[in-house]
């Protein structure tokens, strides 16, 4: 943090106050979180239901409150999201890492006529996403604190509804319930992009909605077909242990693929993502990059792999090829971007290519790396969008050419940005390294050729991120920037990105904390895949290529 005490600090005298204030607040906050976690651990409550419904209740409270009381609305949103996060901590402390079974199960009859149940629970694959969703929502609230001024009430209400439904998606063990949450979050997300977004927001919002909806309705047909094939049951655990005929598996694989591939987004259907990410307000971009697109990859892990294992094996080579195309294509497109957010958006396409590559490598390293990389991408890209949002609030421009030399104007900010840049590149010591390394290891084991191609994505990734960093922070000071009377990043903003920085180094240095959660579940998933029938011709072709 040498920048802060640099002689330049005399010109921008207040710049080190926020740092000191932040430093003073960290022990207090850590103590609070610790106390909250201890308290939550001793309390006895249905954890997952609370996490789903507390934000929704909070959102209802906001909707019913008077729109003139903006401070009240903001504080409500903050308190609700913080409470949700604290109440989610038992998932971390009380989670049994030695079993692949579902935990924190709640099961009630819901629609007996269709045998749909309110059935939720988490295992090692989903638990981390629940925690990440709860964490990122807090950051979305704080980063929007001053930037959202128009229709504040609707904004925070929508944000909290998204939180509830995101957590619902990751917890659902009933296919009907899953679909409800999966689709329900489209509504607030559509509004967040379309109402509070950038100049081209309306186009981006409707494109996002239609792409996702078309994918989802095809999955809906698949869900109904699966329901009848499972003897009129929506029980996902039962589906995971049923062996469906191969041709049905293939059809259902594609049906589910259509929804998940759009969400991830995989190569040919990724075009909604740059528009939506770019035009969304900061909080929207963070949610989109951090959680929403993870739901697609999570879907592959939760549905396609365990429910259609033979089809997954047969189609894995095709999926891996699509992933590698996304990795390289996304990275190359990044090199040509002139828009800050658009560049980060395309880098998501590339990074999510790594995730799907790892998943469809169908081996331990690949799948674990895929899951970890999803978390990493949520942290790093979420963080980058937060930081871009912070500077956008000051300059109101996203053109890279409008920046330059920002390091001397915003020393603390540029240091923070550097951390995220390096994590995005995958420097050893940061979380990005662990994830990409595991995935490349897994991918290489599955197919050497594809592994090599994927590795080039890392190199191009370094190229565009460093180029971006250089153009924004180094080079000569852009005279256009001086007019803004810059304030460096403030306490609220530092606190917003701080948790992510801690996580970057935590995962980078000691990933076992997180890998430990998923280990048994991933082994279980792979055992299910291996016990299914032998792979077919397509896989043998890959063997030859190796």
């Amino acid at each position: 943090m040498g920048h802060a005490t640099h002689p330049a600090a005399t010109e921008v005298p207040k710049s080190n106050y926020p740092l000191m204030r932040t430093a003073a607040m960290i022990p207090m906050l850590a103590l609070l979180i610790f106390a909250g976690a201890e308290l939550a651990r001793t309390l006895n409550y249905p954890v997952l239901s609370t996490l789903i419904f507390l934000p929704i209740v909070g959102s209802a409270f906001i909707i019913l409150s008077n729109r003139r009381h903006e401070a009240l609305i903001r504080w409500t949103a903050l308190i609700v999201s913080c409470t949700t996060f604290l109440l989610s901590l038992p998932l971390y402390t009380n989670f049994d890492k030695t079993t692949a079974k579902m935990q924190f199960i709640e099961r009630y009859s819901w629609i007996p006529a269709w045998s749909a149940e309110y059935y939720i629970g988490v295992d090692g694959i989903s638990v981390l996403f629940v925690l990440l969703s709860a964490l990122l929502t807090i950051l979305c609230v704080t980063v929007s604190w001053t930037s959202v001024q128009d229709r504040t009430k609707e904004f925070y209400a929508a944000l909290l509804i998204i939180e509830g439904s995101m957590i619902g998606v990751f917890c659902s063990l009933d296919l009907f319930l899953f679909y409800i949450f999966w689709e329900a979050m489209l509504i607030p997300m559509y509004l967040i992009v379309g109402v509070w977004g950038g100049p081209n927001r309306v186009y981006a919002a409707i494109k996002f909605f239609l792409f996702t909806l078309v994918g989802s309705v095809v999955m809906l047909v698949g869900i109904i077909a699966l329901y009848f094939a499972t003897d009129r049951s929506f029980d996902m655990l039962r589906m995971m242990s049923t062996d469906y005929p191969f041709h049905l598996q293939m059809i259902l694989f594609w049906a589910f693929f259509s929804a998940f591939a759009v969400k991830v987004p995989m190569f040919p259907v990724h075009t909604w993502l740059p528009d939506a990410h770019t035009e969304a307000p900061t909080a929207g971009s963070v949610i989109l990059a951090g959680i929403l697109i993870k739901m697609g990859a999570y879907g592959f892990l939760r549905f396609n792999l365990p429910m259609f294992p033979e089809a997954s094996k047969a189609l894995a080579p095709a999926m891996m090829v699509l992933s590698v195309i996304a990795i390289i294509y996304g990275a190359i497109i990044c090199l040509g971007q002139t828009d800050l957010k658009r560049l980060i958006a395309y880098s998501s396409v590339s990074h999510m290519g790594f995730v799907t590559l790892g998943i469809f490598a169908l081996n331990t390293q690949g799948v674990q790396g895929g899951i970890l990389q999803m978390i990493n991408h949520g942290i790093v890209t979420g963080g980058l969008f937060l930081l871009v949002g912070i500077v956008y609030e000051r300059t109101h421009t996203r053109r890279i050419a409008d920046y330059g030399g920002a390091a001397s104007l915003l020393p603390v900010y540029s240091a923070l940005f550097m951390i995220f840049t390096l994590a995005s590149i995958g420097l050893p010591g940061t979380n990005g390294f662990i994830g990409e390394f595991l995935i490349l290891l897994g991918g290489f084991t599955a197919s050497k050729v594809l592994g090599v191609f994927a590795a080039t994505g890392v190199i191009i990734g370094a190229a565009y991120m460093l180029w971006l960093y250089q153009n924004i922070f180094f080079v000569e000071i852009n005279p256009g920037l001086l007019g803004h009377g810059f304030r460096d990043i403030g306490t609220r903003e530092i606190l917003t990105v701080l948790p992510l920085i801690i996580l970057i180094f935590w995962i980078g240095v000691y990933p076992n904390t997180f890998l430990g959660f998923m280990d048994v579940s991933v082994q279980n998933l792979l055992a299910r895949l291996n016990s299914a029938g032998q792979a077919n011709v397509a896989w043998q072709i890959i063997e030859v290529v190796k």
Partner: protein, 459 residues
């Protein structure tokens, strides 16, 4: 000659309605203020709903039947009637169409629909259709000073009369072949015979006549014009209750009278359903008038419901009934918002509504998402059930087509939301809140979420 006195118990709900409608006509003569007539209508309809389940059985030698199927449809019709009256109370005054006959005609029309739901004889079907349609023709033109309203009434009358003639023609051919109008006896006859051209012709004529009533393509041309010109409250009534009644007959007649010909009429209906979904959803995109847009949307929804008829299982029938109930609430809600705005017919009138009237905009948002079929609204539950029934009956490919069109429909429903939430506020459109409208909106919105989250209450 000793004519046995018929057992009228099953018909009591209809009798109550007819008596009330006639009484309203008389009271109208002395009433200065016409609103209390509306209140009476609501109370009568509510009592009738309450009494419905307790009057079961057959009457008039089996021509009329009151069973679970008809009770459900009658409940939908009466709910639609109540909501229609609620949204009419204030609207009629502002439109200077505050005639007492309005409420009386609504009740007559609803009675006709109830007869249709209970008909087990083609004569009763015809009686019901005539009672319903004749009342609706007048109601469409009740804004006498508005040429569009008159035009709508004229158009509806001409095309309606045409379709009734086709129906009569079909029935008379059928009678000529089978010497009966009782649909069970017709079925018995058909079972013992071949598919002669005359028989097929009569079936096709009946299909065509009902396609007119449910505004299925290619017999949908009247709907946009009539929906646009008619008073908004009547449009809402026609698009919900009249459609439900027509589907009630379609469901009963085809399964009872022509089960042997199922392969034939399902083929015809599949073509009609695909065309209906395609034309309805695609043409709705191009509309600038919200009533016309909702007319095309109503055509498209008829297409989804036809899927249930095509599937033809018991499950599909209950899916159809649930869908019509759900559709009643969401469509009524949407029309109630159109009425709520002083100037709400053009889609551009909704620009920036979320800023000037956030609550009205939020309600419209709910109705639009429900019409699109996005959870957790009732619209999703309705669609899901129909798709489930159709897939179970083996029509997966048809459901794939339906979901694609359903995704396309999102575009024009979202356009309203886009205008309300994402466009800058144009000239401020005033609203005319009233207790009746508020009640109708409240009931619709609550039911949409209730059915959407806990469908067990109506399953």
């Amino acid at each position: 000659m000793n004519i046995p006195y018929p057992d009228l118990t099953p018909v009591i709900p209809e009798i109550i309605m007819i008596v009330a409608a006639t009484l309203l006509l008389l009271i109208e003569l002395i009433a200065e203020n016409k609103r209390p007539l509306g209140y009476i209508g609501i109370i009568v309809a509510a009592i009738t709903i309450y009494l419905l389940p307790s009057f079961r059985g057959e009457a008039f030698g089996g021509m009329f039947i009151s069973d679970a199927y008809s009770v459900y449809f009658k409940a939908i019709i009466l709910i639609s009637l109540i909501l229609t009256i609620l949204i009419s109370l204030r609207y009629l005054q502002t439109e200077h169409a505050d005639f007492g006959e309005y409420y009386s005609l609504l009740l007559f029309s609803a009675t006709g629909m109830m007869l249709m739901a209970s008909a087990r004889d083609l004569i009763i079907v015809f009686l019901g259709i005539e009672l319903m349609s004749l009342s609706l023709y007048i109601l469409c033109g009740i804004k006498k000073q508005d040429p569009r309203s008159t035009e709508a009434a004229m158009k509806y009358f001409l095309l309606g009369a045409f379709s009734t003639a086709l129906l009569l023609y079909g029935i008379s051919i059928l009678y000529g072949l089978t010497t009966t109008t009782d649909i069970y006896l017709v079925a018995d006859y058909i079972r013992t015979t071949q598919a002669t051209p005359a028989l097929m012709l009569s079936m096709v004529l009946i299909i065509v006549a009902f396609s007119f009533k449910i505004s299925a393509v290619p017999f949908h041309m009247w709907a946009p014009d009539v929906y646009e010109g008619a008073p908004t409250s009547i449009t809402a009534f026609m698009s919900t209750a009249a459609k439900a009644a027509a589907f009630a007959v379609l469901g009963r007649v085809f399964f009872t009278a022509f089960p042997v010909f199922e392969p034939y009429w399902t083929t015809i209906l599949i073509i009609i359903a695909i065309l209906t979904m395609a034309i309805g959803n695609i043409l709705a995109i191009a509309q600038t008038n919200i009533k016309r847009m909702l007319a095309y949307s109503s055509i498209a929804h008829a297409g989804y419901i036809l899927l249930a008829i095509i599937a033809g299982t018991n499950e599909a029938m209950s899916a159809m009934m649930l869908y019509l109930l759900v559709y009643t609430f969401m469509n009524m809600g949407a029309f109630a918002i159109v009425i709520l705005l002083e100037k709400g017919e053009n889609i551009a009138d909704y620009n920036g509504l979320s800023k000037s009237h956030p609550f009205a905009a939020a309600l419209m948002l709910v109705f639009m998402f429900s019409l699109t079929g996005i959870p957790p609204t009732a619209g999703f539950v309705g669609k899901f059930y129909i798709f489930m029934a159709a897939i179970n009956a083996g029509y997966t490919w048809l459901v794939v087509i339906a979901v694609i069109f359903s995704a396309i429909s999102a575009y024009f429903y979202l356009r309203i939301i886009m205008n309300m939430y994402m466009k800058p506020l144009g000239e401020t459109v005033g609203i005319m809140p009233s207790l009746g409208l508020a009640a109708a909106l409240f009931i619709s919105a609550v039911m949409i979420f209730l059915i959407g989250l806990a469908p067990s209450v109506v399953l």
